[in-house]
């Protein structure tokens, strides 16, 4: 006991006071008094044999078991919840309540036992904490793990049990878990840790609290530690919730446990709790039960590095990071429904047996090309096959070296990739390591990318269009082990503290390299590669992860999208099948994601002369020069680049026109492009077919339409033609933008909407039914990175053995199999008369001569919303106002024609807010909130 008393000696005498357990006061927000109970627990000895001591301890706990029994619900199992320091069982109130509610709402449901059954939730107050007994003696980790076992013994708890811990309750719950394999069915964790890696410093706030001079004062004598912890919520906790968390800790005599907990953190190797923590941490590696980690990354204590450590020990765990949430993740995020959803999906009886979607008619019909017949071809296939070729592989029209176009042969590219790959291996880059690429498009990026994938490293690619803040979040979340960048990228990485070993693409002066934390350069990697005789490691498997690509972040924080080698290889196949890009094709690479795949397809690609960070700087002359340089037949551009190319066409010479006449197809990808712009570009390339694809980061190239296709889809007069497609009783709005037919290996289905706007319909390709667009292709994403719930939602209703992705887009198929996009799921307007999709009504509003651009949004509560049109006029308005009567009447009449929906109001704005990246996507959710405020009588400010 000496060690225990040593711990407690550092604390004020109040910490040694004893007090009995009590029930919490009533009236704490969200806490149901009926769930509280006190339990007497005989204490067993820690000595071998574990004999019962002549001691009982009284615990306070929340327990919905009696309530479930009174409803006659079959109990599926128990979730054993353990809080950390300085909280108490109050933190689990939502889980207890929702587990109970879920049981109540399932009453009468004609479903199997798993649906009728419910999870019992037991949330304990640890001894010396919350409203449990104050024992007066310090309780180190091993004691606390045993305390929990004593409690479950006293309760006679039977399996299956899923543990759930937060903060230091995580270690304790995992201690119980590894000691009770016969009962254990799963483990769930909120921000916690089981190991303090020697190479990382102890987090500063903890170091401070642990200082002998501070510990007692901060944790026991004053409520400072408690107050600091409760201040970590994002957004801040309400005063009533804060008071509820503090309720059991109102005096120094009540706070002894808080101080003892902090003193028990085994930061030093010699700490008495270190062996127990190490025992738990190591035993975790043998756990095979399902595991879930719900994580708030904005945690000054348990940062992402502790999550990495846990994932390393439980590699099969499902992980969901709530971007923007912190240490109090249970207050910052909807953790409770997610945990219950995970239990149903992974642990409950019958979980894992995927619920087969009912397939109607031809829904199971195949894509144009059976994906199973397409052979896997590694991304570096042509780098191997053409390693002796002196044909051109890459041309960089304006390399950083500045002296005219740089031409790279297949021989050189192949050698460089091999050298860099070997160099990377020799500086410690391992298969499965993540490498963040902050390199602008060009020969360097191509070489580095293929080197990384060849050695099995995972490339992380985030678009600079995310902005510095979004990019920082993305890179941090992707937790790269290495960062390869040019100067601006590395400077940002340094300034913002991005993790990972830093590698520069160019040589810097030594002082700058030191400042940026740069250890290696591309040149030094190549030198290493030469010196070691270029022996490459074994190739990664097709199923290994190859890349994490970040979404644009136009709808919430950017998500990391994970692709395997096979899936990326099939993106290449899709480009080949759709646009004929293959061995020997000359390709102008003005749109990065597809252009990077040029070498994988054996194509000869050229990067035109442009400021790569600003696509709208690309001129027509630069495109013509790039085409001429490699006799290109295919041109990939972004919409912004395309607009400037058309705008600068006057500068083209006769020779330029001749070069452009050789182009056979061009593609504008990344955002919708108008028919006039596409037509103007087509005039510059008279021999080419103009394409615009439909896709997303999660499914590049899902559908495609040509300029002729767009014209064929346009109604001859008015915009009502597409309405005739709509099935009776389907969603109002219809219309939409035609994005063409599915690409060769893609299947597109619709999951119909219900009256509440939820996509609950079975996957179907019945024409005229509006619903969520769901896609399947061999090149659809594998999964989202550390977003378990988002990933599960994106695959909801998938057919067994198939990979489907719910796009979040809403639309319908027509009788010709063409896909029409009607908006985003989160922009649906749910009126009392049914669901309305926004794009169709917007097109009708835009058909009014005075209107330049329009958004149609809902105001009011979902289910009884009304429609509002927000318009930019051709003659721009100077301020926000209600539309003049003539305009309002015209807009209303246009939308309501042929039984269309009616509008509550028409607002005129000088300018609709759009995303920075494409200047085309209108954030209708934000606009809806704005319109709701104005139309409720709020200030008439700019949206």
């Amino acid at each position: 006991m000496t060690s225990v008393s040593r711990g407690s000696r550092r604390l004020p005498r109040a910490a040694a006071l004893r007090a009995p357990a009590t029930l919490p006061p009533t009236g704490l927000p969200g806490l149901v008094p009926e769930f509280s109970r006190l339990v007497e627990v005989p204490e067993t000895s820690l000595a071998p044999g574990g004999s019962t001591l002549a001691l009982t301890r009284t615990w306070h706990l929340l327990d919905n078991g009696p309530e479930l029994l009174s409803h006659g619900r079959p109990i599926l199992g128990t979730v054993l919840c353990v809080h950390g320091n300085p909280t108490w069982s109050y933190l689990w109130r939502d889980l207890v309540a929702q587990a109970t509610d879920a049981a109540a709402s399932a009453v009468g449901a004609a479903a199997g036992p798993a649906a009728r059954g419910a999870w019992r939730v037991i949330a304990v107050d640890q001894l010396d904490m919350g409203f449990s007994e104050r024992t007066g003696i310090a309780r180190p980790l091993a004691r606390r793990v045993r305390d929990l076992a004593d409690l479950t013994d006293a309760l006679g708890l039977e399996g299956p049990v899923v543990t759930f811990g937060h903060d230091w309750g995580g270690s304790i719950s995992l201690g119980w878990a590894v000691d009770h394999p016969e009962l254990l069915a799963g483990v769930m964790l909120l921000n916690t840790a089981v190991h303090q890696p020697a190479e990382f410093a102890v987090p500063a706030p903890l170091r401070l609290a642990l200082r002998r001079s501070v510990l007692g004062t901060a944790t026991v004598a004053t409520p400072a530690f408690l107050a600091t912890t409760l201040a970590l919520a994002h957004p801040s906790l309400g005063a009533d919730v804060k008071a509820a968390y503090a309720a059991p800790y109102r005096s120094a005599a009540r706070r002894g446990g808080i101080g003892a907990f902090v003193a028990d953190i085994p930061v030093a190797l010699t700490h008495e709790s270190r062996p127990e923590l190490d025992r738990i941490a190591e035993a975790l590696r043998n756990l095979t039960v399902p595991a879930l980690m719900l994580w708030g990354p904005r945690d000054p204590i348990f940062s992402d590095r502790y999550l990495d450590d846990l994932v390393d020990r439980l590699p099969h765990a499902d992980v969901h990071r709530f971007e923007g949430s912190g240490h109090l993740v249970m207050e910052d995020s909807p953790y409770a429904p997610m945990a219950l959803g995970w239990l149903a999906a992974r642990v409950s009886p019958g979980a894992g047996a995927a619920v087969d979607a009912v397939v109607t008619g031809s829904a199971a019909s195949a894509a144009a090309i059976d994906p199973a017949t397409i052979a896997y071809r590694p991304l570096w296939h042509f780098l191997d096959e053409l390693q002796g070729s002196d044909e051109t592989a890459l041309v960089d029209m304006n390399p950083l070296t500045g002296s005219g176009p740089r031409v790279v042969t297949w021989r050189l590219l192949s050698r460089r990739v091999r050298q860099i790959a070997v160099g990377l291996v020799s500086i410690g880059v391992k298969p499965g390591d993540r490498v963040s690429l902050l390199v602008p498009p060009g020969a360097d990026l191509t070489a580095v990318l293929y080197a990384c994938v060849r050695i099995g490293a995972i490339v992380v690619v985030a678009d600079a269009g995310l902005g510095l803040r979004g990019l920082t979040r993305a890179v941090r979340g992707a937790r790269p082990d290495h960062v390869i960048g040019a100067a601006p990228g590395l400077a940002a990485a340094r300034a913002l503290g991005w993790p990972g070993q830093k590698i520069a693409t160019a040589r810097f002066p030594a002082a700058i390299a030191r400042t940026l934390g740069v250890k290696h350069t591309l040149a030094s990697l190549i030198a290493l590669g030469r010196a070691t005789g270029a022996v490459l490691p074994p190739e990664p498997a097709p199923t290994d992860v190859a890349a994490v690509l970040f979404t644009s972040g136009s709808t919430g924080p950017a998500k990391g999208v994970v692709y395997t080698h096979d899936q990326l290889s099939k993106v290449g196949y899709a480009l080949f099948a759709q646009y004929g890009v293959g061995r020997g094709t000359g390709l102008v690479a003005g749109f990065a994601p597809f252009a990077l795949l040029g070498p994988a397809l054996g194509a000869r690609s050229v990067t035109p002369d442009m400021d790569v960070t600003s696509p709208k700087t690309l001129t027509a002359t630069a495109v013509a020069a790039a085409v001429a340089a490699i006799d290109a037949t295919v041109v990939f551009l972004s919409p912004a680049a395309l607009a400037n190319v058309v705008a600068t066409a006057d500068a083209l010479t006769a020779a330029d026109h001749t070069a452009l006449a050789g182009v056979q197809s061009f593609l504008s990808a990344g955002a919708p492009v108008s028919e006039p712009l596409l037509a103007a570009a087509a005039q510059l390339m008279p021999g080419a077919t103009a394409h615009t694809p439909y896709g997303m980061t999660e499914g590049l190239l899902m559908a495609d339409i040509t300029l002729e296709g767009i014209r064929a889809a346009a109604p001859a007069s008015g915009s009502a033609t597409t309405m005739t497609d709509a099935a009776p009783g389907s969603v109002a709005g219809a219309g939409g933008v035609c994005v063409g037919t599915a690409t060769a290996t893609t299947r597109i289905r619709i999951s119909a909407l219900d009256a509440a706007g939820l996509a609950v319909g079975e996957l179907s390709e019945t024409p005229g039914v509006t619903g969520e667009i769901v896609v399947s292709a061999p090149h659809v994403k594998d999964h989202y990175d550390r977003l378990w719930s988002t990933d599960a939602a994106s695959k909801r209703g998938s057919l067994t053995g198939e990979r489907w992705h719910r796009t979040g887009d809403v639309g319908h198929l027509d009788a010709a199999g063409r896909l029409w996009v009607e908006g985003r799921m989160q922009h649906l307007i749910v009126t009392a008369d049914g669901v309305v999709t926004p794009v169709g009504p917007e097109q009708r509003v835009e058909s009014v001569a005075a209107v330049a651009r329009a958004a149609v949004v809902g105001v009011g509560p979902a289910g009884t919303q009304h429609l509002v049109a927000v318009v930019e006029t051709v003659v721009a308005a100077r301020r926000v106002a209600l539309a003049e009567p003539e305009l309002a009447d015209a807009v209303r009449a246009s939308v309501a024609a042929d039984g269309g929906p009616s509008l509550a109001a028409v607002l005129v704005v000088p300018r609709l807010p759009t995303d920075i990246r494409h200047n085309s996507k209108i954030d209708r959710s934000a606009l809806s909130r704005w319109a709701g405020g104005v139309l409720a009588g709020g200030r008439m400010r700019q949206p």
């Binding site: 009392a832 009011g860 009304h866 209600l882 309002a888 509550a904 009588g937 008439m940």
Partner: protein
């Protein structure tokens, strides 16, 4: 069915009585002045006169109660006597006479306290929160009426919001009159969404409530067109229909609320002959959103408004042209 309609000389009361006559009911109209409703019998008297009320109710199967003191100002005791006392008297008389159905015509203002209403449901009447003597006494009366609901006498409350149409001497006539003399300002930017009720729709909803009282008794329903529009468009629509220039000058909403409070206070000290030109209640009504969730109303009453807002404006215009 024999139906007694109180307050049938009023704008809505007359429409309800006519609707019930058209539906084939035998209708008696009870109020102080002749109702002028074709094919209905008048029984004249005051709702505060218990003996006259009992006499009038006798022999009727159902009562539709609209009689009330509707005003933005006046003697609180008079509101109490007519709106609360009158309802209590009528409920007792209906029960004594063996009537089985009672529709109490109320107002959404019984449940609201000035905040903006966006897709609101029908909350319970709350006299403590209601603004002004009218809303407070209507709330008290609605509580009385619903408390009287019993298997013998089924009671339902309906709350039409801002009833208007041809022949309306309250809302439309006042707006048009003020606009004609240039004394109608817009409060704030005029974009606040307001849901109103065209008079024929209010009448058909009340008839539906009477028909469906066996299933909807004991409850309160807000009645509207379900077509919220910016208040400026509503005022302009009424003005255009009447051939007068819509309001073009604006008063900040906060100023109007302040002025309304002052004028109310002054009116209390020295009551004028007409109603005060602005009250705080009116200022709030005209500068914040007031629209309602109509799903429950339409489903339970099995009723849909037959006249759209735009059709209503067209009918209003025809009535002004004809006048």
């Amino acid at each position: 069915m024999k139906v007694l309609v109180t307050g049938a000389s009023g704008f809505l009361g007359r429409a309800v009585a006519a609707e019930l006559v058209a539906a084939g009911h035998t209708v008696t109209c009870f109020q102080r002045r002749p109702s002028g409703v074709a094919d209905a019998t008048d029984a004249l008297g005051s709702i505060t006169d218990a003996a006259r009320v009992a006499e009038a109710v006798a022999g009727h199967d159902a009562v539709v109660h609209l009689a009330a003191k509707v005003s933005l100002a006046g003697d609180p005791a008079e509101f109490e006597a007519v709106n609360v006392g009158g309802t209590r008297t009528l409920l007792a008389a209906a029960a004594d006479a063996g009537a089985s159905r009672f529709v109490y015509v109320s107002s959404p203002s019984v449940a609201h306290a000035g905040a903006s209403l966006v897709g609101a449901g029908a909350l319970p009447a709350d006299p403590k929160r209601a603004r002004g003597d009218y809303a407070r006494t209507k709330a008290l009366a609605e509580l009385l009426a619903l408390a009287a609901d019993s298997p013998a006498l089924r009671v339902v409350a309906v709350r039409p919001h801002l009833v208007w149409g041809p022949g309306d001497t309250q809302l439309v006539a006042r707006i048009v009159e003020r606009a004609r003399v240039g004394r109608l300002p817009l409060l704030g930017h005029g974009a606040a969404l307001i849901d109103t009720t065209y008079v024929d729709n209010a009448a058909s909803a009340i008839r539906a409530a009477l028909d469906r009282v066996d299933t909807v008794h004991g409850q309160a329903y807000v009645i509207t067109n379900g077509e919220p529009r910016p208040v400026a468009e509503l005022l302009a629509g009424m003005c255009r229909a009447a051939g007068v220039r819509p309001p073009a000058w604006r008063v900040p909403a906060s100023v109007a609320r302040g002025a309304g409070s002052l004028i109310e206070a002054a009116w209390r000290l020295r009551p004028g002959v007409d109603e005060p030109p602005m009250t705080r209640f009116l200022a709030e009504q005209l500068s914040t959103a007031h629209w309602f969730d109509q799903r429950r109303t339409r489903a339970d009453l099995q009723w849909m408004p037959a006249v759209t807002l735009d059709e209503g404006f067209a009918r209003l215009e025809r009535s002004y042209r004809g006048a």
